[in-house]
Symmetry: C2
Subunit: 273 residues, 2 copies
């Protein structure tokens, strides 16, 4: 089984501390890892980076920055500072990219939040340039438009990228968030054409979905046409990782070794050429 | 308080049978009613229509038809027959319009479901013409794209309307489903321009939303800019009802007289000019 393009997000196996996760992923033949910031709490970040590289795990990205919108000047400034911290953390870890969950404030017009998001990214870009860190805007499913992201379509993410027009600013396309979009094929094509398709995240949409945040499915458990979406992504020339990002109370309650094995099998079935 | 454009959906006060609801709505000064088909089960539909008119309740629409997509020929035919039945029910009731929740089949490509939806509407149009019943496509929030509707944006609904190009086919714009759409203002404008903005449904989006189907908020409880959206709708020349359609386990568990009073107050605060 070719796992050379399989990346796993640490949040996927949340019950494992990163020290366990890195050993398990390496032993399983997983090639890449995206590190969630909470997995780094209390750790020497540079040392974690060294340990990941020592296990031949490619650090794909740090997850996550963003949450730029706020109702106060202080809130906006705090968000920018936190994103600068994330850039320094990514540099210390040796991650070349940060995934941005852009944020939203309930009741604040989404257009205003989008403006704050663009302004926030612009404010941290100089530091990102200094460290050579790419910033990947992740459009979130419209179900999260109230308090998690005002960027809910690839078109909306592309609009911000067009506005900022910077080689370090691109898009993380997550199947869970965008599978329903009638413009998906066209938007993925445009994103690739503009050299800003930075990441591809996979999981599945469960029917019924019993929890708005933590009931994602393993690839193949749900209704998303992942083969079709991967074909769209590959058609752009994308050769990056297929990143498995699953929040699931159901899977987290099970043996994580079994889960990792199930991930490998599902990845093999869906993504091996 | 001007309630002349207030319509309430029978599902909003689900605990009340329609015989109770019509008396309560009339006594409260509600002007319009949209009747859900389950409220008619076991009733003489023509007689219900007479009783509504006797109480000066304007019958705004019958809710709902749709669910056209299916994986089998039999399933497709059954859906068309059920929509023909809905048209006959609307005619018997004296409802000039049917709201369509268009349907989706988990795992079937949404583009295929959209084609089946357009074909299904086309198949029932002759009967709709015969009875003069308007068919209002209701775009559903993308969170329902797996099994309730493959039509998830105003643009997608407008595309089907363009294709069918018939004066009886238009759109029911429901705030809950479309508030997040970056193209909302433009799409509402286009819908009005094409004389196909048939209905405007209101409620609110709760943060957090604890149930995917039945945790809608009363207007003002959530984050939707309803005043702004109503302004967009009115700007098209729309003079129809503002239809209160709330599915809420929380409100259904409370005294429905109190709920109806709360609806009137919320309507007055948000929608009186």
């Amino acid at each position: 089984m070719d796992l050379s393009r399989l990346c796993v997000h640490t949040i996927t196996t949340k019950p494992w501390p990163i020290e366990v996760a890195m050993d398990k992923y390496a032993a399983a033949g997983v090639a890449g890892i995206t590190v969630w910031r909470q997995a780094l709490e209390g750790r020497d970040i540079s040392k974690v980076g060294e340990n990941l590289r020592a296990r031949n795990l490619e650090i794909v990205s740090l997850c996550r920055g963003g949450f730029f919108p706020a109702k106060t000047t202080r809130g906006l400034a705090d968000a920018i500072e936190d994103n600068r911290l994330a850039i320094r953390e990514a540099a210390a870890l040796g991650a070349p990219m940060i995934v941005l969950v852009c944020g939203a404030v309930p009741g604040q017009p989404l257009a205003e939040s989008r403006k704050q998001i663009a302004d926030g990214i612009a404010a941290v870009l100089p530091l990102a340039e200094e460290h050579g860190i790419r910033l990947a805007i992740e459009p979130l499913h419209p179900v999260y438009a109230d308090d998690r992201s005002a960027v809910n379509t690839m078109a909306s993410a592309n609009a911000i990228c067009d506005q900022l027009d910077h080689p370090l600013v691109g898009i993380a396309a997550d199947a869970y968030h965008i599978w329903w979009d009638p413009d998906l094929a066209e938007q993925i094509r445009i994103t690739g054409e503009k050299n800003r398709l930075f990441a591809f995240h996979v999981c599945d949409w469960m029917t019924p979905t019993t929890d708005l945040l933590n009931d994602r499915g393993l690839m193949g458990e749900g209704c998303i046409d992942l083969k079709g979406m991967r074909a769209m992504v590959e058609a752009t020339g994308f050769t990056g990782y297929n990143e498995v990002e699953i929040f699931s109370n159901r899977w987290w309650s099970r043996d994580q070794d079994d889960f990792l094995q199930a991930i490998k099998i599902a990845f093999g079935e869906l993504f091996s050429s």
